[in-house]
Structure formats: C-alpha cells, structure tokens
Subunit: 255 residues, 6 copies
C-alpha cells in the first residue's frame, strides 16, 4: 500500500519530519510518500495561507493520483495540516480515501476519552479549528486551546515550545476536565507519545492517526464516494495561470 | 462608497450580469466594481472549482484593497458565489466588510419568513450548501433543493431553467412549508423579483442582499475585525508560482 | 423611504436618543419615524415589561402601517429593544420588513468576526438574550455578559455606565476571545463607535444595524412573508379593554 | 391545593371545557380555578393573538396571586394555550410553579415514547410550536403537524374535527414513526384518552399533563426561582391605559 | 396507586432512605414499594456498576410487573439512580410509566428556572450525566459539577458531605449563574428542601420529582408506549446463568 | 497484536461469521479472538436484550484482559453489536482501545461521503441507533432505515434478506441523497463489499471498520483514558449471583 502524506506547506524540513512520523506510524507493508507542494506558503497560519496552499496541494494530489494509472499510484491520502484545508477538494480528485489530520485525531480521541482538548499553536487558528470541531460533530465535548507558539518554532529545540505545550495540557486537564488530548499541529508529531506518558492520558497526533485511518480504509477496499459532492470535477475551461488545472481537458490535470 | 463585487469564476458574461444586478440593488451613491479573477475556473460547480478559484479571488481582493491606499480603494466586498468560497481568506486581507452571497441571502430571508428553502443548481452542490446553512446557524429552519441546471445554462434562455426553478419553488412551498425562498446561485439574480411576485413570498437573491448588507455596514463604519482569525496574514515566504502572494514582503501582494 | 423606529418603552427621552441614532445611521433619503407607545412600561427590564409593552407596540405598528394606505405609510420597522419583544406579532401586521435590534446586531457582527460577545445591562436579562442567540443560530459563537447598569441610568452621564461597559468589553476580549462586540441595549447607541475605536474591534449597535438592514430589504422590494406564520391575523372578536385590537373588524385596528 | 388554570383567550365556553378537563385530571384535594381574561382575543391563532392576550393573562395571574396573601391564594398556575404564550412573564409575578401546556405535554410524552408527533390546529401555528420544541430541547425527536381545524371549530361536533385529527395521527405513526402523540391545542382535551385507546399509544393532552406537573411541584414545595430571569419585576412607571400594571407601585398590580 | 421505587444498588440502608423520601413525596393514596435488587453493586459509581446492576434491576421490575396480573401489581416505576441506568430496558417490560431520577429532576427544574446546575458526587460520573443532559435536551442550559463525595459517605453525618454540597451550590450560583439546582444523587434526597431554603432557589431532588411525575402520568392513564422501541422483548433463547430472563418462555421472566 | 472481537449475543454461529469477517479485515500480524458470552440473549433486538447481554460481555472482556498479565492478553476490543451496548462499561475494565461497530462504521463513512444512511434490521432498533448517531455527532448527516429482517434470518440464505437490504439502499440513495451506506448489524458483514460494488458507493461494515480502527490505535500505543469516566471501577461489594463481578476484591473479576 502506498499512502500520500501531503504537507500543505512548502517547508521541506517539516515535510521530512511529518514523513518520518508517518513512517513510524505506518504498517510494515505501507510505503509513505511524503511530499509538499512546489508552490505556496511556508507554513499555514490562518485562512489566507489555507486558501493559497490549495493549488499546490491539488497539483500534488492529482500528480500522484495519476501515477496510479501506471500501476504505481497511491491508495490513499493524508492531508497533514491541522486546519484540514483542501480535504473536500482533494476528495473530488482522489479515488482512495482522503483524511485530514484534525478529523483523524478527533475521531481517534473520540473512542479513548470523553472530553477532548485540542492544543494548537496560534490563537488566531482557534476559530478555524472550532469550526472543524462543529463540522465533525464534537462541539459539545471538545475545547480548543492555543499555546501561541509559531508553527515553525516547533522545529527549534531552544524555543521552549514543549514546555508551553505541557502548560496547556495541564490546564486542559485541570480546567476543562480533559481525559484525552489532541495535538493541533502537524509539527508536534514526535511529542505525542512522550507527553502521553508524562500526563497519563491519550495524547493523539493527527499525522499518525490519519495514517492508520487511511491504512484501515484502504485495506477494506473503501474509497471516496463518487455519487455526491465528491464526484469528479465537471469538465470546463480554466483561465490564466491555472489553466492547466481545467478538469477533463485531454492532457489536463484532473481528467 | 465603492463596493467590490467579486465573481469568483472567470466567465465575463456572468460577471457582467452579476454587476448589473449589483448596480440595480445599489444605492445612488454606491459604485459597483464588478470583477472576476484573471485565472481560474469558468464556473464553480463543486469543491474542486471552489478551491482553485481562490488565488484569483484573493489576487483581485488584494489588488482592489491596495488601490485604497491611493484614496480610490474599495469600502467593502461581495463574494458572488453561493458556496461563499474564500470568504474567510478574503476577510484577512480586507479592511472593510466581506460578505458571501449565501450568508447574505440567508440572513435576509431570516427576518422575512420562518422556514427557508434554498433552490440551487446542481445536486452535487447541496452538501456544500448544507454545511454553510449549519455554519450560519440555519440548520433547523432551512432546506436545500437542486434543480440540476448547469450554472452556465442559466445564461441561455432556451434552457428551460426558469421553469425548473418554478417547479422547485412550488415543491418547497408544498412539501417543506417554505415561506421564504433563497435562489442559490449568483446567476439567478434577475429572476428573484419576478418569482417573488409569482409565488407571493419573498424570493431573495444573494447578490442584491449582499450589496445591501455591505452598504449598511460600510455606512456605519463597521469593518472586519482584526483581533482574531481575520487578522492580517503573518509575514512569511511563499514558494513557486504563487511567491508573489507572500504576505508582508515589501512590494508583496498582501502587505 | 420611511422607517418606523419603535421604542417599545414609553420613555420619550430614550425615544429621542434612539431616533437620533437611527437618523445618524439612515441614508439620505430615509425618513426615520421614531415613536414610542402611548401605554406601557418606562423601560423593558425582563419578561414582565416585555409582555406589557406589546399592546402599545402593536398599536403603534398598526397605526403607522395603516397610514400607508394613504400614501404616507411606513416601508419597514425597527423594534428598538434588545429583547426583540413583539417582533413576531408586529410581522403579522406589517407588510414591510420588521427587524429587532438584537437580531440585526448579531447578523451584522456575524460577518465581521468569529466570536461575538453581547454586553447588556441587567443580569436578569441574560437568559432572555441567550434564548434569542439560540433562536437566531448563534449559540456556539456568542456569549452574553451583563454590566448590571439599570437601563435608564444610561441616560445619566454621572452613572459611570460607560466605564462599566469598558470593563465588560475588556473581559469579553480577554476571557471569551471575542473579536466582535454587540451592545445589548437600545440605550447604548451612541457609544458603539467610540468604543469600537478604543478597543480596536467592531462594536455593533443594534439600532443602527437594524436601520441599515431594513433600508436594504425595503430597497430590494423584500417584504415580510404572508404565506406562513406571519400571515395577517384571522378575524375574530376581542373582549374588553383591548376590543379595538380585534383583527378584521371594519374600523378595527388590524384589518 | 389550588391551581389556577388560565385560558389565555376570552371564550368562556372553552374555559369551561378546559376547567372540566383540568378537574378530571386533578387530585382529590386540588381545587381548579379555571378563568379567562376579561380582555383579549376570543382564540389564540398566531403571534398577533399571542401578544394581545398577555395583559389579560397577567392581570388574572396577578389577581389570583395576590389573593394568596389573604390565605386563599393559588399554589401554582397552568397556562392553557399550546403556544405557551406569557409563560415567562407570568413566572415573574408568580411564586408557585407556572407551566404551559405545550411544555407539560412534551415533558410527559418524553418519558413514554421515543418519537413524539404534535398534532395541532392551524398550519400557521406550526412554526411557533417548532420554536417551542427547540426551546424545550425536543428538536431531534419531535415533529409538528397541522389539521387546519380552526380552534373554535373544535367545540362544534358537526365540524368533522375528530376525524381530521385521526387522519393526522395515523400519518404521524406511518410517516414519522411516532410512538407518542401530543394534542397541540387546549381545545382537544377530552379526545386524548379516546384517541389513545384507538391508536394504541400514549396521546397526551397538555391541560391534564400540566395540572399533574403543577400538583407535583407544589406538593414538593418547589416554586419558581426568584434569583434570575424570573425575579419580580422592577418598580417603575407604566404609562397610559396600562398604568395599573406598573410594578411596585403601592396599590399597584404587581407589587 | 402503587409505585415501584427501584434503587439499582444493593445497599438496603440507602433503599430505606430513598423509600422514606419517596413516601414523603407521595400523595395520600400512593403506596411506595421501595426495593433493591438481590444481586449487583453496593453503589453505582460509573459505567461498570451501571452495567452490572441491570439484571437485578430488570428482575425486580419484572417481578413487580407480574405481580400485577394478580391484581396487586405496580402502576409505575421510579429508577432511583441519577445515571438513569436501565431506564430504556425497564420500559420494555413495564406497562406503566418508568422514570429515571435524573430525567425527572431536570424536567422539573426546567419549569422553575432558566439555568440549571447539577451537583453530583464523583467527578468520574460527570461525563455520564452530561450525556444524559444532552439526550434530554438540556445541553445549552445545564452544567454538571462534582463534589467528589463517595456515594456511601452521604450516609455518614461526619463526612462533611453537606458542607461540600453547599460549597458547590454557592459556586454554581456565582460562576454558572444557576437559578435552579438539581442534586445529582439518590442519596441526597433529604437535603434538597433544607438547601433550597438556605440558598433561596429551587433545589430539586430526583426521587421526589420522579414520584410526582409517575403519580401524575398514572393518574391520567398514560402508559409506556408499546408501538416502538419500548415494545415487549421478542421471544428468544437466553443462555447460561441468565437463561431465566429469556423473554416469552412460558414460565419465563419477561413473558 | 491480539484483538478481542466480542459478539454480545450467545449465538455461536454468528460469532463464527463475525470472527471470519474480522479475520478477513485484519492485518497479517493480527490475531482475532472471536468470542461470545457464556450467558445472555441469542440475539440483541432492543433495549431489553442490550441490558441483559452486559454481564456476559463484561465477563468475557475481563477474562481476556486478565489473560494479558500472563503475556498473552488482548491489545484492544471490538464490540460487535450495532447498538454499541456495553462500550462504556468495557472501557472501564480495558486498558487497550474499545470500539463499538456502530461508532467505527460511522466514523469511517464520515470521511468517505457527506450523507450517510444506516440500514439496520428491526424498526424497533431505529430509535436506539438514532440516539447513537446523536451521541457520536452525526445527527445532521445521517438517517437510519430498517429492513425489518430479524437478526437471525440473516443467517438463512432463503430469507430474502439481501434483496430487502438492496431495496433499502436504493431508497436511501434516491430519497435521502445518501452517498455512503452503513450496514447496521453485525450479521451483515459479508455483504458490504458486494453491495458496495453493486451500488457504486462505499458500503461500510462495522466489524471490519472496528477491527481496522482498533488495529490502528493499538499500533500507535493509544489506550483508553484512565483519567475520567473510564477509570477502573472502584472497589466495592457486589451482592448475590453477580458477587464475582465485585471490583477490587483480591481474586475478583475486575481487580
């Protein structure tokens, strides 16, 4: 099985870390293809970055999907940004399952505890994540907290990021009654297990959770539905710089 | 006052029709700047098109926002696609209010009737619109129906589109108990008033509703909040084709 | 265009202040008819006052509606009490749109920020406003706070009311993560703009928001639906002191 | 124990029927005081009538509450209109429990079945009742159906009303999967038991349910809370015809 | 009338206290049959105990139901554990109404105040009670607090339990704005009235509330619906120790 | 890895079929231990059977959990009944993850489509499953349909069960707009893949989905939280037949 782990930002060092985490989570027979777009933001920190990573994300998703017609394609996709940006669009071009790491983490934590606290980076991301918790049906058992650590600072051991995470987890337990914690950023992958042991409760990393969810669905032969909103894009013209994205054009991107 | 009416697709004839409808709705002192992106899909028919219209949409929004520093800028923005795609991203680069036509239409219908039926074009768009009705707080009083008219067919008088709209409105009244109707497509603008008279209930067009909502907010001096999720994008590098979108770069797009 | 701004309480000085605020918000061609009932409570501070202002409110609404048959009627109505009391009843006798200031303020704030805090006067009013936030679909993004300023004290500059408002707004930002604020009382009208500048976020006054919402709907020809719950009252006898309110009687109030 | 059963309309024949039903439901030691206001609508058929019954309703509630200071007062109140109009206002002037028949019927049906269908009279009342089902927490297990029988026609045996009720109950079972039915009108009181036997499921009449609920709360010494929104009205002036309703005035209505 | 008050745990002293409280609440003509199962946990403190009390609870419910065929049966049932465990299962074997004390307490408090705080014993029980508040439709107006008093400590006057209850009620009023309180444990029965007077708001005990609710329903002839999910168990084989529970077997438990 | 697949009913032939399905779904290194309780109902068809399967279910869960202290224990548990009965109780005695097949199926379908229809056996089970869809956060995108096939008839090829399933799936697509289907019974396991191909959309079987979900969580080292409601049962006495279930007793069942 081959799973595309698509880091929506263009920071290769983060892609490498995410890829390593995905590989650590993956089963023996699973090949992780960790990529990031060629174009777009170096990190996703709010709605503007979310929107502008999409062409690059879709381009990667389609490129790897198409490779599949040669017998070497991907079987499923992980979108490795906690805002789950682009997940609906990628589902329209993917045949296999497509999972965002926020949704995967919440659906995993849901069966391990009763009250879930998400600990994310920036305060400005909290409303977007709250919209996701409502969309996914977790509004009444999930709180979102921010550490105000910049996303890329998580790569810097001297940033004190881990201690700020610890402080928020402690507050989630004391003040929110959390019995399960979700790390709300793709860059926090390698901390989940360590923090879980420290605090004595499940700490879920979305990248790992999403890899396992996709592995499971793929191995059951379950694929993205093509009957409704995730049907392939309708053929039409695309103008300007993005013309190559036009669906249905013969040598087009998303035939 | 100058309002940017941003048709997210690249079909100029539709932009013209939307602009005309916006002008018909606008107050005497309001200038409507109806534009569409230079790049992107010819119509928005599902999540794929929604995602790929965003760079063009943002580019237009920023271009007109910036013009404002010269004293000729825009005061507010209407996003003229019923999926309200990009509304959160555009809010981060706009100082004035930014309104999607789905939200504007629902918030207008909300004070005119008790049960709202949205009549849109394609069945595949229904789940996306239902997500919006839930996000905007209308889940318990709003139903979404599709006519399965292609978006661009609305421009063709021979397509029978109006009669199919009539049939769905009649069904909404009979089966859903609707006492207010929202036309779920920017291309249906000029039909709202006619159908309202025919059926004897409010039929709301989102473009007109959004123009009035933006006019109102602008005239009160109310602007998009910059304290939370709609704060300006953080400065960072953007890679590849989209590098010019990098926020904060000196001559950059979204300084 | 003529808009009836109906202050449900009988305090003429407050009606004057509300009228002035409405006029400040209104477009050039809009005439504001600011009135209050001849009978009823001097202020609306809870469910009892809410109920007993209704005959006077309806009487004013009908009186001005009827004037319309002579060519000098009103085109729409603002109910200028934050409890939105009587809004459903007035819709049954009005042909134009009828908007309460709580609903108008929330629907305006909804497009400017992500988390809304309402700051109202009395603690005893909080549950009633929370019921409105749920009815209008804002339960998951809106908190209600009270300053415990009596309504009429807002007219007294020596009451310290503004400083108590400031303290609650500061708390809403710090504790609730508010990025938009709604002033939950018709008597706070003239403070919104000043406080918005002080705190650097949108502060919405319901009277102004409602005037703009009604102006917009009227100019689009949108009227209260007469197909469902807002159909005209059925003809019937009314007993006793209120007999003149009987709908449908020839010289009756609400024919 | 003495329970005030307050029919909000002014039709004495309906008050008599409601009183008889209440007495049939009451325990041996319970005295039912069935009254209707001296002023107001002959029937409650929509928001207009709902609003205009309130002064009369409050007047009766206060008059009987005050009698209590002489040792002959009431212990609790049933508001016998399915729209539960005035229930919040009456709670502010009552010391005992105050229950509307819609709320009582739904809370009773809630423990007898899993899916509740309300069968009411006029289609125009459906949205108001749906608002109540949402307020009371029943949105996800309750449907509202209308027979389009005028309220007063229920008093006329030749009107065919019962057969139309039967048809709607049959449809509720077949189409909604209802396993409990609520009769959505105070005028349907005497039919509940008969229809329950015919259809083999619980058919709840709100008047009877409310009498039992009030009896139970009174006998436990439970009274309306005076700490929050149901605290007594604040003293203030009332203008005009309704001046006698001013709270706190020495010989006033609601001291 | 004969009401079965079924304490799901096997601690006879608690059954006696619950029985006394039920008798204190019951009407003159009501016989309270207070029982506990012969088998199962000494107290219910979490999901494990909840599950394992069920066979004993059902056995008692069926035994007393059957006695009814001899003319001495029960007319309704109170399940006297605040987790309302087994309420759905008992409804399938009961003909009369079956009420859990959590549901009864919430539905009583619902008409007395606007914001309800439940004060229960163990923190570990809070999520289970929150699930119930959501099921019963109280999610938006109810908070759950724990005193961390062990259930059986409530029987020990030296445990300081009452003072800890007082502290939580005070916090509920100050921090949650509670205007009604529910005691979240069957063992707190005799404190409700005393605490209600101390704090000046309704304090509801579930046992008393449930007795009155069942009395009311029984006296109206309302019984558990047998049309849907509460229909009698289908006949089938039961294996092993529990074989005697097989429904439909001739001398079986739940024929 | 060793996963306990616990069929809550006592029908060994169904356990064998479920075990086979679980093995077909399991990864190479996963051992499936398919068991059923020694005591309890032959099938789970409603709340009564749900309750009475629990002692046997818990006994099996504890027995296999304990075996783990000898190095041969289980790593996670699937509860193979679509009512997810006992899932909370088993979580208190399990250290690994515990997943019900309804929750697993819904969480899998959630990422494959937008509107999910559950097709289950008996109409009487629909309300219980609807409660689960609400608990799990799927109320707004999930409908439940019944075929009225008895559970054990699924074992009989001559019963016509498959054709009735087909008819309901066709209706779900046509009438509910379903783009993903969940088979609402553990006995439908082997049909999912075949029906998925026939109808061209994902058809999810809960047993397979739950095996993959547990495999994934176990391989990430994620376990049931022991900080909140799923903490181990508190030590206490258990009376009568079930005394061996007393937690904490030295040779006890759930130490």
């Amino acid at each position: 099985m081959r799973i595309l782990v698509l880091n929506p930002n263009t920071t290769a060092s983060m892609t490498a870390r995410i890829g390593a985490a995905a590989r650590a989570a993956a089963a023996a027979g699973t090949e992780i293809v960790a990529v990031n777009p060629a174009m777009g933001p170096a990190s996703i920190e709010g709605f503007y970055d979310e929107a502008l990573c999409l062409p690059g994300v879709i381009e990667e998703a389609v490129r790897h999907e198409r490779a599949g017609t040669d017998g070497a394609g991907i079987d499923g996709t992980v979108l490795a940004c906690f805002d789950d940006t682009g997940v609906d669009a990628v589902r329209t071009v993917a045949s296999g399952p497509v999972v965002g790491i926020c949704e995967a983490a919440l659906r995993s934590a849901a069966v391990l505890g009763t009250r879930i606290s998400v600990v994310t980076t920036l305060s400005r991301s909290v409303p977007a994540i709250e919209m996701l918790t409502r969309r996914y049906g977790f509004a009444d058992r999930c709180r979102v907290r921010a550490t105000d650590i910049p996303v890329l600072a998580l790569e810097d051991p001297a940033s004190g990021a881990t201690d700020r995470l610890r402080a928020e987890i402690a507050a989630a337990i004391a003040d929110d009654g959390a019995d399960a914690v979700v790390l709300g950023c793709a860059g926090m992958t390698d901390l989940a297990s360590r923090l879980g042991h420290e605090f004595g409760l499940p700490v879920v990393d979305g990248v790992a959770a999403a890899v396992k969810l996709v592995e499971g669905l793929v191995s059951l032969g379950l694929r993205t539905s093509k009957r409704g909103a995730y049907a392939p894009p309708l053929a039409k013209a695309y103008a300007g710089e993005l013309a190559r994205f036009a669906p249905g054009s013969a040598p087009g991107l998303a035939s």
